[in-house]
Symmetry: C2
Subunit: 113 residues, 2 copies
DNA sequence: GCCGTACTACGAAAGCTATCGTACAAGGGT
DNA sequence: ACCCTTGTACGATAGCTTTCGTAGTACGGC
């Protein structure tokens, strides 16, 4: 019995630090993940098309989870991720929306198709 | 004539990237600087009591400047810094205020005197 | 029981960051 | 002219980050 039903460590709401959240959001790949989750709600790690390898993807999801930005649960072979919107909104009102909006605005400016 | 009247390079508004701004804000020392400037308006580098050495202070101010978060000008022997509020508000509406408010709220929660 | 899918763990490499001390430059006041 | 204050430049160091490949585990379906 080496394995319990596979759970993942998440920081408690009171342990979430603004610096860590901002740091988690300061990487382009992770910003993309967060914006995807903001739009889609919940999704598996593989549902997002990222320009990095599988192991790097795992790494970024972990950074987001350990900073308290997302919650992850196993469901079959998949691992579903979703934003911890309630916790983040309670701790840092408006931050998540502001960042997501800012990122989308920047995308719109930059892509200039 | 090796030295022009001492100017400093600032990124153009269009060059400011959200990732860089978030990264600049993800350090406790820099967050403290930004919140101080948000409260005081303009101030010299030495006016803030930071828990790091002089050279480290210089480093953090430079990171903030190069990310486009602050503007710095020489005035006599002092170097005055101020937030680039107009640029930031135009690019990422609400971000600065949200972060400053979030930091203050976190301080209030954490210090629990 | 076996295979495929989904994800993880580990180890490695390259690069960046935060920190410091020391030595130096620029400017203002006396 | 000299010094004091303010900030910079440089070099060093320790630690973190991003990235990858490879090998492995967990689960569901056949």
């Amino acid at each position: 019995m080496t394995s319990q039903p596979r759970t993942l460590d998440h920081p408690d709401r009171s342990e979430i630090r603004l610096e860590d959240v901002l740091h988690a959001l300061s990487d382009p790949v992770r910003l993309q993940i967060v914006c995807f989750l903001a739009a889609e709600g919940e999704s598996s790690c593989s549902a997002i098309d990222l320009a990095v390898s599988k192991s790097t993807t795992t790494h970024h999801f972990r950074v987001l989870r350990e900073a308290g930005v997302i919650r992850q649960v196993y469901r079959g072979t998949a691992k579903m991720s979703s934003l911890r919107r309630e916790d983040l909104d309670a701790l840092f009102p408006g931050l998540l929306d502001t960042v997501v909006t800012a990122h989308e605005a920047q995308q719109a400016r930059t892509v200039t198709v």
